[in-house]
């Protein structure tokens, strides 16, 4: 070791280097950091977005960087985009496929049907579901997905995504404050961009130190991507799970409402119109996704854990009226799947249940193609 090392100079140099790294990298990590990815390059893109709380077993993890979510998805691989008719499925965990293998999800089963356009172009479905119930979250994903050239968007909905108070509480929405507030301003969406769930990012948040969690998440996501490539596993499937509730208390409440209330004023139906605005010329098909209709105790009061009968029926009625009024293409498939084909919640299906839904959606698409070319 050199005898004449000056510790003060060493400390000064260290501080300068630290400052350079902390502040000098801001332009690099500010916007496009999440787009740097091994996926679709060295490891295959994921069939669905990264999501999970058990990374050691599922080789998957949740992260809030929207670009990183998309960069890890097969939708980002656009090498064949001009040779296929690209259908994006947007929605909640029922689309994402909780407890389902990638090939058993709605997108997976629709792809297995091997559908083609009349001119022979293959129809390819992409699973862009994300396990959070919020229309605002759906808008965020919808807007981001447009970069990847969809030809058709199928947006699967359920009442639980509609209440106003559910819109901004989704962590992925609140962590993407800048993106969502610009969406609000650009499309004049009736949501408050000053809502307290959005913590305004500071200059410090943009530095290397402020971004350390984000960086670590993106870094780990790449490693889990290698495991995804090696094993094809992207979810932990417990051997046993608690089945969705079939018997209920004598309870008719839905959030803060009770039987006799009018809920439509507090549901974010307007976000569906915003979705159409954001999608522009890309057609959107709206689908009210199937729910568990229980035959258990107090099933004369509630369909399931989420929905009392009065509220859900009101919602269905509203959706029918609004779709006519706004000219939306809308299908109400609420009772398509039998009670026994649900797994751990009232909106999660068995592979067989998904099969029934995928058959129905494929018919819907072909019917629509027959009426009016979608591409």
């Amino acid at each position: 070791m050199e005898e004449n090392v000056n510790i003060k100079r060493l400390l000064a140099k260290t501080l300068i280097l630290l400052a350079l790294l902390t502040f000098g990298l801001i332009p690099l990590i500010k916007d496009d950091l999440g787009k740097v990815s091994l996926y679709n390059l060295f490891v295959p893109g994921r069939y669905r977005f990264p999501y999970g709380e058990n990374p050691d077993q599922s080789f998957n993890m949740s992260l809030f960087n929207l670009e990183a979510n998309f960069a890890s998805h097969e939708v980002s691989d656009q090498r064949n985009s001009s040779n296929e008719f690209r259908v994006f499925l947007i929605g909640d965990s029922s689309v994402w496929g909780t407890l389902l293998k990638p090939e058993e999800t709605l997108a997976g089963q629709l792809n297995n049907l091997g559908m083609h356009m009349p001119d022979g172009t293959p129809i390819r479905f992409f699973n862009l579901g994300y396990p959070t119930l919020s229309l605002a979250k759906d808008l965020l994903f919808l807007e981001e997905s447009l970069e990847f050239q969809p030809d058709l968007i199928i947006w699967l909905l359920t009442l639980e995504s509609f209440p106003d108070d559910k819109q901004l509480t989704s962590p992925i929405v609140s962590h993407n404050y800048h993106k969502f507030s610009s969406l609000i301003n650009h499309y004049d969406i009736d949501l408050n961009s000053d809502d307290e769930v959005f913590s305004e990012t500071t200059y410090w948040d943009q530095t290397l130190i402020g971004q350390q969690r984000n960086l670590a998440d993106i870094f780990r996501l790449q490693f889990y991507g290698v495991m995804w490539g090696i094993t094809g596993i992207d979810q932990h499937y417990p051997q046993d799970y608690e089945a969705a509730k079939r018997n209920f208390e004598e309870d008719t409440t839905f959030h803060d409402w009770d039987k006799g209330d009018i809920i439509s004023d507090d549901l974010a139906y307007h976000l569906l119109n915003s979705g159409y605005k954001i999608a522009g010329k890309t057609p959107i098909l709206l689908v009210n996704e199937p729910i568990l209709i229980s035959s258990g105790m107090n099933s004369d009061l509630r369909y399931n854990y989420y929905y009392p009968i009065w509220a859900y029926d009101q919602y269905r009625q509203n959706m029918q009226e609004l779709s006519k009024e706004n000219g939306w293409y809308y299908q109400d498939l609420w009772n398509l799947i039998a009670e026994e084909e649900f797994t751990n919640t009232a909106i999660h299906f068995t592979p067989k249940g998904v099969g029934i839904l995928s058959e129905r959606i494929s018919e819907m698409i072909m019917e629509q193609i027959g009426k009016q070319p979608l591409n």
């Binding site: 050691d56 290698v226 495991m227």
Partner: protein, 474 residues
Amino acid sequence: MSFQEIAILILISLLLGLLIRRGHRENLLLVSSMVFIYWLQPGMSLRYLSFWLPTATLCLTMISWAITAQPEIRKKSKNIWTSVLIIIFVIGAGLVRYLDLGELLGFLHPPRLGQIFLFLIAVMGFFLILLNTKRISSGALWGFFSGLIFIFIIIKTPYLSQQASAVWRTLAGQSAALARTEEIRWLGFSYLAFRILHTIRDRQSGRLPDITLREYMIYIIFFPSFIAGPIDRVQNFIKDICQTTSTYQEDVIKGGERLIVGLFKKFVIADSLSIIALNNQNAIQANSTLGSWILLYSFSLQIFFDFSGYTDIAIGLGNLLNIHLPENFKQPYLKPNLTQFWNNWHITLTNWFRTYFFYPLSRTMRKSRRYSAFMILMISQISTMILVGLWHGVTESFVIWGLWHGLGLLVQNRWSSFAKSKIVQLEESFFLKGAINVIGIFFTFHYVTLGWIWFVLPEPSQGWIFIKSLFGAA
């Protein structure tokens, strides 16, 4: 150890590094090491054991000093003061039970003070008898030696460990039916045992220097190297305890460099690689040959960066405290043959086995004149490597891992003897010499890497299936 724990160790070492230069060097090193062995001891579901195990570490160390020290050293009064300091420390730790210190020292879980007193009276009584014994017999030394090996076997054998856990549970009034394998986690016992065995053997051979109880305690439980080595020789360690050899500024710079390297290796490289490294679960999930190789290479690199990262951290912490610990890894994966790999991988462990098992065994066999040179080499090399395997755990897989390396060393030794003259001729060409070296590195790395399969997968049958998957045969 977590990053937070290491960060605390670094901060305290920085402070201690300053303080020890102002006096009380040995006392500060001893007390800090005692604090850390209690603090770092993992919590266990076995009642009071997280208190008793570090206490046993201290008591075993005291007794091992008493049986290895020369009579004239044993009688020095400062040893009595050191033993009193240790006793006071243990009682102080036991008092935590009666103080409402919450999470600060909640990890200790001491038993009732009466039990601690009874235990300490017994230990001190035995210790004082040893201090006043004129001559410790060779039988006593061997007895203590065997006792340590016995404890080691119990801890490292899954079945015996579970039985011991059941016995402890019964004694502590817990359900024996809930006893699990490897439930007894004795922090640093492997390294503790190696250091004590080293001093016993050196005492028997007359090579052990005269050291006080305090110096001996610091040597055995020195906190930077207590958990993952390196295993320094007492002769080298003592020199550093006795005198300050460099300035604080020099130590901070030198130690800081090693710590940065070590932390990067451990928490960035090794922890990232651990996501894609071979383990019991993913060995059966890989769906391609390439995938299996990626898992295996990742494990091979992960274990190196993890272990050598810990060593760097230990050496860096040692530097902050002006104690110079030996190197443990010197680019082992870049060595052209298996002998050189083992000369540069976990160097202090290899040296320990070489000094206290390989050389004595081969010497004894040579003296008996009943074995050929080849037999001596084969038996010594294979049994040494099997012992190294068993040190990691008494299981079939570790035996196979040891056998894998023992046979590898034997074959490499024979091959080197056979090909030496031919290779010397080839090495006259600079290009060929380089090529031979690269080929050697390639084969050695892959041999070692394939060996890790037995190390990481608990069942040999699983290892065999994985090997087949590497060659597309599974």
